[in-house]
């Protein structure tokens, strides 16, 4: 098991810069999720850790040793990819044995067999062992792929969107299984995803990436409730956080659109300062005596909750309410917010004024 540190990693591919000075500390045994859009540099970061890409600058430290120049085989990591992760032409058993048969490993045939059986049992794929991989379903393939990672008992598991190609139900099942696997093995996991639900539900720590930079690292709670800037604020949570431009006047937020005046607690911005107010949809309150007026633009029923889109002064504001609430499109509505939940961002830089 190992902790990993990236120190000032930069990487260019021709004219495109993939990573710009990324620093990450991943603790031993941590489930670390890299979250970001396509092209944010998550996969490149993972490949740098795996030893498949050499960084232009910076160092990769594994267990305190400088591993920048180690090749992939020397790093003792395992990689699970979204697709093409199994060797074609081989059976499931052949795939699981493959890493154990490399020259860097010294396993007897009995040991290989035992490890394969154990991995197959863990992932409930014993009955598939003699099947060709071409004849597996997507979910089975990913299980085998994870199996191939665990047979070797590597120091670090690297996963590049392993669940993204699966259908929703299977994704939920495997998400739970992966989490359990992490718990049982106690190994370090680095998990790349663009899916914030995966990130929030699985990660011990989340690193939010944008345009080749690591924007914020924190626990899911920290990322959710104390986002460093508006980018992070909007990258987690469904629907995303509402951002409303306005001005602070003492203990009152004056929203530009519609001129609504809403109370705030302990403002972290200065009196009279232009502020971008952030409020999560679940902290928007719908009540007959609420101070702001709007109109229901859209209602999405999700079973347990309803997501309302409220139009107020030309802005769309999301609110989550109980599914019991009787409300329809075009109904007039009064809304407010929980004053203690409001976040204050700088409208120019997007930085969270409460954290600086």
């Amino acid at each position: 098991m190992a902790d990993i540190a990236l120190e000032g990693i930069s990487k260019k591919f021709g004219p495109n810069t993939a990573l710009r000075g990324v620093d990450i500390d991943i603790k031993d045994g941590e489930f670390f999720v890299l979250l970001g859009q396509t092209g944010a540099g998550k996969t490149t970061t993972l490949r740098v850790i795996a030893g498949l890409e050499k960084p232009d600058t910076g160092r990769v430290m594994i267990e305190g040793q400088d591993a920048t120049n180690w090749n992939a085989a020397e790093r003792d990591v395992a990689l699970v990819l979204q697709q093409y992760s199994l060797y074609p032409r081989l059976t499931v058993r052949g795939n699981l044995e493959f890493p154990l048969k490399s020259k860097t490993q010294n396993f007897t045939p009995e040991e290989i067999n035992e490890r394969v059986e154990r991995a197959a049992e863990t992932l409930q794929i014993t009955r598939l062992l003699d099947r060709k991989v071409e004849r597996l379903s997507g979910g089975e393939m990913q299980r085998v792929s994870i199996g191939r990672a665990i047979v070797r008992n590597p120091r670090v598991f690297l996963m590049d969107e392993p669940l993204s190609a699966l259908d929703a139900n299977l994704r939920d099942v495997l998400r739970v299984e992966l989490k359990k696997l992490h718990h049982d093995l106690g190994a370090t996991f680095v998990f790349v995803t663009h899916d914030q639900v995966e990130a929030m539900s699985m990660g011990d720590k989340i690193g939010v990436m944008n345009k080749g930079k690591l924007v914020q690292v924190g626990t899911p709670d920290e990322i959710y409730s104390k986002p460093l800037n508006t980018f992070v604020a909007r990258s987690v949570g469904t629907p995303p956080m509402n951002l409303l431009d306005g001005k602070l006047e003492g203990d009152v937020a004056v929203i530009e659109a519609g001129g609504h005046r809403l109370p705030v607690n302990e403002p972290t911005a200065k009196d009279g300062q232009a502020v971008c107010f952030g409020i999560r949809p679940e902290d928007v309150v719908i009540a007959p005596d609420a101070p702001a007026k709007g109109r229901v633009f859209d209602v999405e029923n999700h079973g347990v909750i309803k997501i309302l889109t409220i139009e107020a002064g030309g802005e769309h504001i999301h609110a989550t309410v109980s599914a019991q609430m009787k409300i329809g499109i075009d109904d007039p509505v009064n809304f407010g917010w929980k004053p203690e939940k409001v976040l204050f961002f700088d409208p120019q830089t997007g930085l969270n004024l409460g954290l600086s």
């Binding site: 030893g51 498949l52 085989a73």
Partner: protein
């Protein structure tokens, strides 16, 4: 309803079958002609209209492999009776088999040696061209090569002029380095000739193999070379088979260079077979027999690799 053909489909189907039939007739007629001639008696080989019904005989093949000379006088009855069956055939054709004066051994025509030369040169040059081509293509496909497009174009440009144009300079160069009339000389020539082709075809195939496969192997503790052999090569086999067939056919059929560069030791079959036309009256049955045998290796090779070839030609190496 599924499975029921509409009249229109049936009509299309029949047209297709007819078109295939016509194409087959056009393509197979020359082969039939060669095969038929190879078993005809000499006097029926060039009749007009062509003789269709005849008693097949193997004398052309006997003549193909033996050195013969015109009979000045008929053999005595004893000589004729003492001769084995195949020698009688040569006597019947008005020729006699040339034997070594001292040992009495039958002297061979040299066709067997030419055939062997063809096999040696074609097989080795194909193996070398395909393996070098695959490695080169892998390099171009997986690594950043400075000026990659220019290099690839340069490689292809070696095929842009008719090979005969360089035949004389090549001949002079080969004479200086002593590669004239050697197997090695022809092998180098045919390898160089086929290499550009092999690189280009294999590049297409290897580009289609997801690099994730090798990367998984690299992470699993294999070296780049092991990953290449264990993961890439099995996937590339289809393409290599297709490339090999095409390279083999090119080398096997090559005529111009073989004619200029070789005469005795390393001469291949293509320049030899028509050379039989020149000595005395052309014996078309012998030429047909030589040609027929010459067709067999390519046919076998293509047949063995037919499954790969079919998939290879459609360029769908990997199921995505």
């Amino acid at each position: 309803m599924a499975g029921v053909r509409t009249p229109r489909e049936t009509w299309t189907n029949r047209t297709a079958i007819f078109a295939v039939f016509v194409a087959l007739v056009i393509m197979l007629t020359p082969i039939y002609w060669i095969a038929a001639t190879a078993f005809k008696p000499r006097n029926l080989a060039t009749t007009i209209p062509p003789t269709v019904a005849f008693t097949p005989e193997v004398s052309p093949f006997v003549k193909l492999f033996t050195k013969r000379s015109q009979l000045r006088e008929q053999p005595t009855q004893e000589e004729y009776d003492a001769a084995p069956w195949w020698e009688k055939m040569v006597f019947d054709g008005g020729e006699k088999v040339v034997r070594n004066r001292k040992t009495g051994e039958v002297r061979s025509s040299g066709y067997g040696d030419r055939f062997k030369n063809s096999l040696i040169v074609s097989i080795i040059s194909t193996l070398v061209a395909v393996s070098m081509g695959t490695l080169t293509a892998y390099g171009f496909s997986r690594f950043k090569v400075k000026g990659e497009d220019d290099w690839l174009f340069f490689i292809l440009s070696t095929r842009m002029l008719p090979p005969v144009v360089v035949a004389i300079p090549m001949f002079l160069m080969y004479r200086v380095v002593g590669l004239n009339d050697t197997h090695m000389g022809l092998i180098i020539l045919y390898t160089a000739f086929n290499l550009s082709f092999a690189v280009w075809i294999m590049k297409g195939f290897i580009d289609e193999i997801p690099k994730e496969y090798e990367e998984a192997a690299l992470v699993d503790g294999y070296t780049r070379m092991q990953a290449f052999f264990k993961v890439v090569l099995p996937e590339a086999l289809t393409g290599m088979a297709a490339t090999a067939v095409l390279c083999f056919i090119t080398a096997w059929n090559e005529y111009a260079f073989a004619l200029i560069m070789t005469n005795r030791n390393a001469q291949t079959a293509p320049p030899y077979i028509p050379s039989q036309v020149g000595s005395g009256l052309p014996d078309w049955t012998v030429i047909a027999a030589g040609t027929l045998l010459f067709l067999i290796p390519v046919a076998i090779f293509t047949f063995l690799l037919r499954n790969h070839l079919l998939r290879g030609m459609s360029f769908g190496a990997i199921r995505k």
